[in-house]
Amino acid sequence: MGKIALKDIYLPETATAVAIRQLTPTEKCFEFKLDSGKSLGHMPGQFAEISLFGIGEAPISISSPPHGEPTFEMGIRQVGSLTGALHRLSVGDKIGVRGPYGTTFPVTTAMKGKDILFVCAGIGMIPLRSAIKYVLSHRKEYGKIHILSGTRTPAFRLFSDELEQWGKVDGVRLLETVDQPDDGWKGNVGVITTLFSKISFDPKNTVALIVGPPVMYKFALLELRKLEMSYANVYVSLERKMKCGVGKCGHCQINGLYACQDGPVFRYSDIAETREAI
């Protein structure tokens, strides 16, 4: 038999860490550059499989918006063996990349011309940052923008320097909250849903993007329902063990769906009745 003509879907391409900065005590932002010189070609909401050969591979959200350059950013929390090893990387170290995979936030479709509500709870800021930056750089294509951000403590605010910049953009309202304040915190205290009462938006003309820990979704969705928001205008991103990323390995299956191919971004009305989704 001859050489296989098909692409090896499990073989990563290589990339180099070109910048690393600490975001919070547990998260770092990495800028990687594909060694091929090509752009990753993703859209907001997608993920890529990041690997360190010999250690492992995991699906990680892309935090930067698409920009045509061979670089992309990822905010990564240190939680396991692979992310632990990633946190020990230095600039110049190599990683493996497969992707981008999965569905995207509807930045070029359902969101166009609408007011946008971003609900970023904790680490949910990481995938949403890609969409926020995309929307801000195409500001005229969207209406009013609300960005709600909630973290455990002020020390865990992700991309805090950028948050302030976003809040200054015309037509953008930024509201932050923390679960536990420190001495210097002057803002809102409480879970992210406490911010909903502080904003007013037209539920008929707004698209909401919500990403955060599993427990948050139920409460945030309930609040949105109370505000007469249709679930057809709500998009969520679900975290699953997307081991292969290409709809083969079965790990990210949610009933009839594969999070890696049918998600990770779902229109909530499509999965509201799906057991185990949220």
Partner: protein
């Protein structure tokens, strides 16, 4: 249709070893196992029943290297493609599920495709039924009707041969001196044997009151899900044997082994019943309880695949019944599902 005598089939299989890694079922402790040919000579058993190993082992291997080092390219193909023999209809049916998973979308699995494209399948009629066989409840007859290159039906001194593909026809043509036209009486014997095995499977189905595929109206919501599933989950030990022997189970894990330049990425079969199967690094687990994972296994077979592919991902081979140390019986699960759907 043709006829090939026992000793001539041996010659044919020996010939095929030039181009293929030929595998034959052989008996060990009364059970059939896939083994290499010609090692061990002619003591193979192509008829009787399915082998212990499901056919997926030839295409979606239990453990396979899928990437070699950093950027070194995909691992080379095995020296010879597989010629698998004595495959039964239940296993042929299972390949529809495996093909769907590995071949039919933009991300084609190159290893599976390579093995599938280059293989030669010499299937065979069942001449017996195990008491765990219930293929006909899932719409599969105990004799191959499609998806084979060559099919063998056991006679007293040889086999009635039917070709099912151009590849199979070529094998017969290239070795035509080994074949003779089948005698009408042999074809008649084939039909009689088929009817006899069908009636044996039907006895199993009646005895265990297994619902017929057409009779049950698919998966319906289960009112008391915990009670429904825990009667089996309370016995399950999460060993994953059912997944391993299942011809349609396709889930796998990717992991890296070795260090530095000698690393390779491996793909190994995984089991959806194991607690960490869907757990993410942060600790969240969409199916934290065993009964949920057990439900998911059956739901995937009888709800997910009917939805996405239009067929049940169970072929009635009965391997999981034999393999389960907790005696969880897919036949009784099917019975309960059918009762729930009514």
């Amino acid at each position: 249709m043709f006829f090939i005598a026992e000793e001539k089939l041996h010659i044919l299989l020996t010939r095929l070893t030039d181009d293929y890694q030929v595998c034959v079922p052989r008996k060990k402790n009364g059970k059939l196992h896939q083994t290499r040919f010609p090692d061990g000579g002619g003591d193979y058993t192509l008829d009787e029943v399915r082998s212990c190993e499901p056919a997926k082992i030839f295409f979606f291997r239990a453990r396979e290297k899928v990437a070699d080092g950093f950027g070194a390219g995909p691992p080379p193909p095995p020296p010879k493609p597989a010629c698998i023999t004595g495959v039964k209809a239940c296993d042929l049916k299972s390949l529809e599920v495996q093909d769907y998973v590995f071949l039919t979308d933009e991300y084609t699995d190159p290893f599976y495709k390579r093995a599938r494209d280059s293989n030669l399948i010499i299937s065979a009629d069942c001449t017996q039924a195990l008491d765990t066989c219930f293929c006909m409840a899932l719409g599969v007859n105990p004799f191959p009707e499609k998806d084979f290159d060559i099919n063998l039906s056991k006679m007293e001194d040889g086999y009635v041969v039917e070709t099912g593909s151009a590849k199979g026809e070529r094998v017969v043509k290239d070795n035509e001196h080994l074949f003779s036209p089948a005698d009408p009486s042999q074809v008649k014997t084939r039909e009689e044997t088929r009817k006899r095995v069908q009636s044996q499977v039907r006895i199993n189905i009646n005895e265990y009151r297994i619902p017929q595929e057409g009779d049950w109206k698919g998966w319906k919501p289960i009112k008391f899900a915990y009670a429904f599933w825990n009667q089996d989950a309370k016995n399950c030990v999460e060993c994953g044997a059912c997944n391993t022997v299942c011809p349609t189970c396709h889930c796998f894990l990717l992991f890296d082994q070795g260090a530095g330049k000698k690393t390779s990425r491996m793909r190994v079969w995984d089991s959806c019943l194991i607690k960490d199967f869907a757990r993410v690094a942060g600790g969240a687990n969409p199916r934290p309880e065993l009964w949920m994972r057990l439900r998911n296994r059956f739901e995937k077979k009888f709800d997910f695949f009917p939805k996405v592919l239009g067929i049940n991902a169970c072929t009635g081979c009965g391997r999981c019944i034999a393999a389960c140390p907790a005696k969880i019986d897919i036949r009784s699960v099917l019975g309960r599902l059918a009762a729930n759907a009514h």
